[in-house]
Symmetry: C2
Subunit: 347 residues, 2 copies
C-alpha cells in the first residue's frame, strides 16, 4: 500500500500521464476553434465612447428607482448583479405586480451578444436599456417623465454634463440609454475555469469537466452555443428536432416571429449565452426548468434529437459550471437627492 501511495505521489509530481495530457491538448485545440475567452476589458460601443464619467453615471442610473413610474423599480431590481445578473425567478414582477412573459436574461457579458432580449428585438444594449423603462409591465414610465425627473435633480444635471460634455442639454432619453449601455458593457465575468483552460492551463478543468466539454463538442451542443458567450450570436427554433412539452414551450409565445412577422421564425429564440449558467436558474425563455441537468437533457432531445444518458448529462452540466467567471465587484452608487421641484412618484 505504501508503494502505491509513493507511486501515486510520483505520478502527481510528474503531471498527468502522457496520453491524458495529449488528450487534453487535443481538446484544447478543438475548443479554441469554437470558443473565445471573456475579455477583461469592455469592448468599445459604436458611437458611444466609454469614460469614467459615463460608466459612473450609467451605474447610478442602473440602480436608480426613479426611472420607474412609482420610483420603486430600478434596472438592478430584476438584473441583480449579485445573482448572476438575473433575478432567479421564472418571469419578472414589474409595475403594479404585473408578471413579464419571459425569463429575465442576464446582463453579465450581454455586451458580447449580437442582439438583446430573447427574440433579439433590440440591436444593442443602448436600445435594450430604454425598453423596460417605458414598458407598461416593467417600470411603467414614459420617456418624457423620466427625462423631466432627472432634469429636476441637480446632482444628475451635473453628472450628465460631465458624462456628455459639450451637449447643450445632456439629460436626454438617448443619453440615459447610452450611459446605461456603457456601464453594462463593464459587467464582464472573465477568468472562469474554462477561460483559464482556453488560455492554456490544462489543469483548470477537472477530469469530469473535460469529459463534459468533449461531450458538449461531440454531441453537437457547440453547433449553436459557441463564441465567447457560448451563445448569444444566433437564433434557433426551440424544438428544432423534437418539440418539447408545453411546460417548456408554451404555444402562446411564438418567439422571434413577434419581431420579424415571418412564419419561419415561429418558436425561434436567440440562443442564450451559457456563461454563468449555474447562477441563473430557472432556465429557458419561460424560466421553466430549475435544474441544469434537466435543461441539458431537454436540449439534447429537443434540439439534437438524442437521449443523453444521466451520466452524459451530469458531465455536460459539470462543464457548464466551469463557465462561472469572476463576478463583477460593484460599489453601490450614492444617488443624488430629489429636491422639492423634482417630479414625485406617480401614485
Amino acid at each position: 500500500m505504501r508503494l502505491v501511495a509513493i507511486l501515486a505521489t510520483l505520478c502527481l509530481l510528474a503531471g498527468p500521464p502522457a496520453g491524458l495530457a495529449a488528450d487534453a491538448e487535443a481538446l484544447l485545440e478543438r475548443a479554441r476553434t469554437l470558443f473565445a475567452p471573456i475579455p477583461t476589458k469592455p469592448p468599445e460601443l459604436p458611437g458611444n465612447p466609454s469614460s469614467v464619467a459615463r460608466v459612473e453615471l450609467g451605474k447610478m442610473l442602473f440602480f436608480e428607482p426613479r426611472l420607474s413610474a412609482e420610483h420603486n423599480i430600478a434596472c438592478a431590481t430584476c438584473h441583480q448583479i449579485g445573482l448572476g445578473g438575473a433575478d432567479g425567478r421564472p418571469v419578472a414582477i414589474g409595475h403594479g405586480w404585473q408578471r413579464g412573459t419571459r425569463n429575465v436574461p442576464t446582463i453579465l457579458n450581454a455586451v458580447l451578444n449580437t442582439a438583446q432580449a430573447w427574440d433579439g428585438r433590440a440591436r444593442d444594449l443602448a436600445e435594450q436599456s430604454g425598453r423596460p423603462i417605458t414598458s407598461a409591465v416593467a417600470m411603467g414610465n414614459t420617456r418624457e417623465s423620466v427625462v423631466a425627473t432627472l432634469r429636476a435633480i441637480p446632482g444628475y444635471r451635473d453628472f450628465f454634463a460631465w458624462a456628455f460634455p459639450g451637449e447643450a442639454e445632456p439629460v436626454t432619453f438617448e443619453n440615459i440609454e447610452k450611459a446605461l449601455a456603457v456601464f453594462q458593457a463593464t459587467l464582464l465575468t472573465p477568468d472562469s475555469p474554462f477561460d483559464r483552460f482556453l488560455a492554456g492551463d490544462l489543469a483548470a478543468l477537472s477530469a469530469v469537466e473535460k469529459e463534459g466539454l468533449a461531450l458538449f463538442l461531440d454531441k453537437g451542443c457547440a453547433g449553436c452555443h459557441q463564441g465567447a458567450n457560448l451563445g448569444g450570436d444566433r437564433y434557433a427554433p426551440f424544438g428544432v428536432v423534437q418539440r418539447p412539452g408545453a411546460e417548456f414551450l408554451p404555444p402562446d409565445d411564438r418567439g422571434r416571429l413577434l419581431v420579424t412577422r415571418t412564419a419561419d421564425d415561429a418558436y425561434t429564440f436567440k440562443v442564450p449565452s451559457l456563461r454563468n449558467v449555474a447562477l441563473t436558474a430557472p432556465y429557458f425563455h419561460r424560466g421553466s426548468s430549475w435544474d441544469l441537468e434537466q435543461a441539458v437533457a431537454v436540449m439534447g432531445s429537443a434540439q439534437l434529437g438524442i437521449d443523453l444518458t444521466a451520466e452524459e448529462t451530469r458531465k455536460i452540466a459539470a462543464f457548464l459550471v466551469s463557465l462561472t467567471g469572476r463576478q463583477p465587484s460593484i460599489v453601490l452608487p450614492v444617488l443624488p437627492p430629489s429636491v422639492p421641484s423634482t417630479p414625485r412618484p406617480r401614485l
Copy 2:
C-alpha cells in the same frame, strides 16, 4: 477701494473678527451639551458580537430577495443605501403591490436609536429586521419558509457556520435577524459638516448654517431632536401644541397607541433622527411633505406653537443640510446560487 480690499484680506488672514469667533465658540459649547458626533465605528450589540463573517453574512441577507415570498423583495429594496437608507416614497410598495401605512425610516445610523420603527415597536435592530420579512404587506414570507430556503442554499450554510461558529444548526431565523442587525450597525454616516463643527472646526459650518443651528437651539427644536442622531431617543405627540392638518396627521393612524394600547399615546411617534434628512424626503410618518422647509415650518407650529418666518425656516433647513454625513461605501455582495432542491419562489 484698494485700502478696503487690503483690509479685507488682512481680516481673512487673521481669521474672522474676534466677536464672531467668540459667538461661534459659544454656539459650539451650547451644541456640545446637547449633541454628539456620529461614531466612526459601530457600537457593539448586546448578545450579538460583530465579526467579519457576521457583517458579510448580514450584508448578503440585506440584499437577498429570496427572503421574500416571491424572491423579489430584499431589505435593500425599500432601504436603499444609495438613497439615504430610505426609498424616497411616501410609503413603501411591498408584496403584491400593497402599500405600507408609514414612511420607510432610514436604516442609516438607526443603530443609535433607542427603539426602531415610527412607534418604537421593535426594541432593537435585530427585532426590527425580522418584521418586514414576515409582514404580509412587506415581504410576505413566513419564518419557516425563509429558514427552509436558506438551509437549502449550500453557500448560505457555509456562511452561517462561519458567522455563528459552534452552533449545531446555525441557519435560524434568530441568526438571520442577528446578522442583519450587525450589518446595519455598520451603516453610519460620520464626518458631516456638523460633526466636524462638534469636533472643534468652527469653519465647518457656514454663517447661515450656524445661524440655523442657533435658531434650532433658541426656538426649542433641540428639546426633542438631540443626542447623536438629533432624535430617535424619545417619543412625542405629533401636534403637541397645535394639531397639524389631516394631510400630515391622518386620523386613522394613532401612532404609538397601537403598541402600548394606552390612550395617552394617541398620535405619539418616535421623534425621528434628523441625520441625512436632506436625503430622505418625503417627511413625517406618512411621507406627506416633500419640502424640508415646509416640514420645519409645520414642526414649528405643531410642536412649538410658533410661526417661524420664511427666513428662520430657511436657516434651520440650511443647518439640517449640514447633518448629511459621509455615506456608506458598500460593495454589492455576490449571493450564493440556489440549487435544484432550494424551495422556489411562491407564485
